[in-house]
């Protein structure tokens, strides 16, 4: 009975019938959850004559769908998406590590209130704030800038994200204080300590922030919807809807564009999978 390391003990299932059932279930799970995405990949390179068809088996390989998509301006949408995710991610990481440094390392009156405020923003998603947010974007308070119709309008608001700040704060709390004190004895100031002591130690957590921030920004829909005024500012996600609505555009173009919107997130996920799982479980289990 050495195989009792899982709740159902499926690892201990031996014998041909048991194994066939087990692997059939694996295949079914993959078919249901990954099958549609594989079909998207295969169909994007296939000749799509029928608007209803997706295929899992490649035939008639062609790049026509992508050529048509490029004619529809999909490269511009892709570029917009990449600018938004790149800019948003840089800003988000900078804002998060800076705030986390104060929350993890500084003692000041009001720290509990700040934590509470940050936590409370998790209950204020863009969906609920959509209408007042669109007013704010058109005329940002105090500085009176109009962000509607600019990519900056899709970047700046994602800069502060409670989840990223809290994950980073947790991580920085675990950095041994002795490292910092030694540097302080050498006469280093806050900025030097932050830059050359804290940040290098936090590199694994930066991976977690990177993958989660990427997924979060790449998935953004409402914010770009509120900000974009015409197709020039469309991200890939927004463009998928108007490509669909266009009668002239066949399904092949839509499938090819959807694949372009899918690939970056899958590649980033596969590359940073370990960090993703760590963030997922730590963020979820700690609440």
């Amino acid at each position: 009975m050495k195989q009792l390391d899982t709740a159902l003990g499926l690892g201990a299932v031996r014998g041909p019938i048991g194994r066939i059932i087990k692997f059939a279930l694996y295949a079914l799970a993959i078919f249901i959850f990954a099958g549609p995405l594989v079909a998207l990949l295969v169909s994007a390179f296939g000749r799509v004559t029928d608007p209803t068809k997706l295929s899992l088996v490649p035939h008639d390989l062609t790049l026509d769908n992508f050529r048509a998509a490029v004619d529809q301006g999909v490269l511009r949408y892709l570029a917009n998406s990449l600018i938004v995710v790149g800019g948003g991610l840089l800003l988000q990481i900078a804002v998060s590590v800076s705030a986390a440094y104060a929350l993890a390392r500084k003692q000041f009156p009001g720290v509990r209130l700040v934590l509470l405020l940050i936590l409370s923003t998790m209950m204020l998603p863009e969906e609920i704030l959509a209408i007042p947010l669109s007013l704010v974007l058109a005329d940002v308070p105090i500085i009176h800038v109009n962000l509607v119709g600019t990519l900056a309008g899709m970047i700046v608001p994602v800069g502060a994200w409670a989840f990223a700040i809290l994950v980073m704060t947790e991580f920085m709390r675990d950095v041994p204080i002795e490292l910092e004190e030694a540097a302080r004895l050498d006469g280093a100031g806050d900025v030097r300590i932050f830059w050359s002591v804290i940040l290098p130690v936090c590199r694994p957590a930066l991976g977690v922030l990177g993958i989660f921030g990427f997924t979060m920004i790449w998935d953004q829909y409402i914010l770009p919807l509120l900000v974009a005024q015409d197709a020039k500012q469309f991200t890939l996600a927004l463009a998928l809807r108007s490509l669909r609505a266009d009668e002239q555009v066949g399904t092949g173009v839509l499938i090819a564009s959807a694949l372009l919107a899918l690939l970056p997130s899958v590649v980033v996920f596969l590359a940073l999978q370990r960090q993703f799982m760590r963030g997922l479980t730590s963020g979820a289990i700690k609440g």
Binding site: L10, A34, F108, S134, D219
Partner: protein
């Protein structure tokens, strides 16, 4: 914002070592926090305050807003379309939460373990969760294509099930949207359950087995009780996410056909940005926010009690 926050009374602190420069002692901390606090203020708290104030006013561009008290709330609650949308939202939130948990748990039990092939299957199954909603919606609209040779109808044809109308019929549209939500949500729950299962004491399994307990009793009496906090978290997260559902509806059906999938947020969006009834739309959002906060507090209370 930061200026007002930067000067709170410091009397709760223990006697400081250095008295000199006491007033600016905490300025450093606030500087580090400033970017986050400014962004949160501009894009979360200001919109929030606007939403609250708008919900009590008749918003009239160029004419100035007019205070109407609770009229907007009365209009929203009395509106049949809003009540229907609230009903759909609750059905969808409960269905997706329960469905994702059941499917996620089944997947977790099937795919738990350290073997390499399990890791590969888990990675494949997890992909829908990292896929952007816009892609998911585009893909499922193709899969759901209601013709007899549409993708899903073809697959169901192999096992002898008749063609369905899915998103195009008011009888099946809400369930079809729910299925997409479960497809994307279950793998997420699966990963959290697997993490929870990994924390169960292995010797308890051995002990239960030695007492003659089969796999199902082991599950019921050992694994599930140990995972109670994990269940609480998954339910809370899913319920909050479920109530504010917008993007999938907007992209899959936009509330149709015949209003059969209209949810609170798509209705609010139409009221606010298409019909310009900003005050009523704000009141609708605030009711949804109140429900979310209530649910969160309730979940926290239950969690603390258990």
């Amino acid at each position: 914002m930061t200026a007002t926050l930067a000067a709170p009374p410091a009397h709760r602190e223990a006697a400081p070592v250095a008295r000199r420069g006491r007033r600016f002692r905490h300025a450093g901390a606030w500087l580090w926090l400033a970017p986050a606090l400014i962004l949160f203020t501009l894009f979360k708290f200001v919109p929030m305050a606007r939403a609250i104030s708008m919900s009590f006013q008749e918003v009239r561009p160029y004419l100035g807003d007019r205070w109407v008290g609770l009229d907007n709330y009365r209009a929203v609650v009395g509106d049949d379309a809003f009540r229907a949308a609230a009903g759909h939202t609750i059905v969808l939130a409960v269905g997706e939460t329960v469905g994702s948990i059941v499917v996620g748990l089944a997947l977790a039990l099937l795919l738990e373990g350290t073997a390499r092939h399990l890791w590969i299957v888990r990675t494949a199954v997890f992909l829908p969760t990292v896929t952007a909603m816009a892609v998911v919606a585009a893909l499922w609209r193709i899969i759901y294509y209601p013709a007899p040779d549409g993708a899903l109808n073809s697959v169901l044809g192999w096992i002898g099930l008749g063609p369905g109308q899915y998103l195009d019929s008011p009888h099946t549209s809400l369930w079809s949207v729910m299925a997409v939500g479960i497809w994307r949500g279950a793998p997420y729950d699966m990963m959290i359950f697997i993490a929870g299962l990994a924390g169960v004491d292995r010797t308890l399994y051995e002990a239960a087995a030695a007492d003659g307990a089969g796999p199902l009793r082991r599950l019921w009496h050992v694994a599930f009780p140990a995972m109670r906090p994990v269940f609480a978290i998954v339910v809370t997260l899913a319920a909050i996410r479920g109530l504010r559902v917008f993007t999938e509806i907007f992209l899959l059906t936009n509330g149709g056909p015949n209003g059969s999938t209209e949810v609170v947020m798509t209705l609010v969006y139409k009221l606010g940005l298409e019909r310009n009834e900003l005050g009523i739309a704000a009141a609708g959002s605030m009711l949804l926010l109140a429900a979310t906060i209530l649910l969160t507090l309730l979940a926290q209370l239950l969690r603390r009690r258990s």
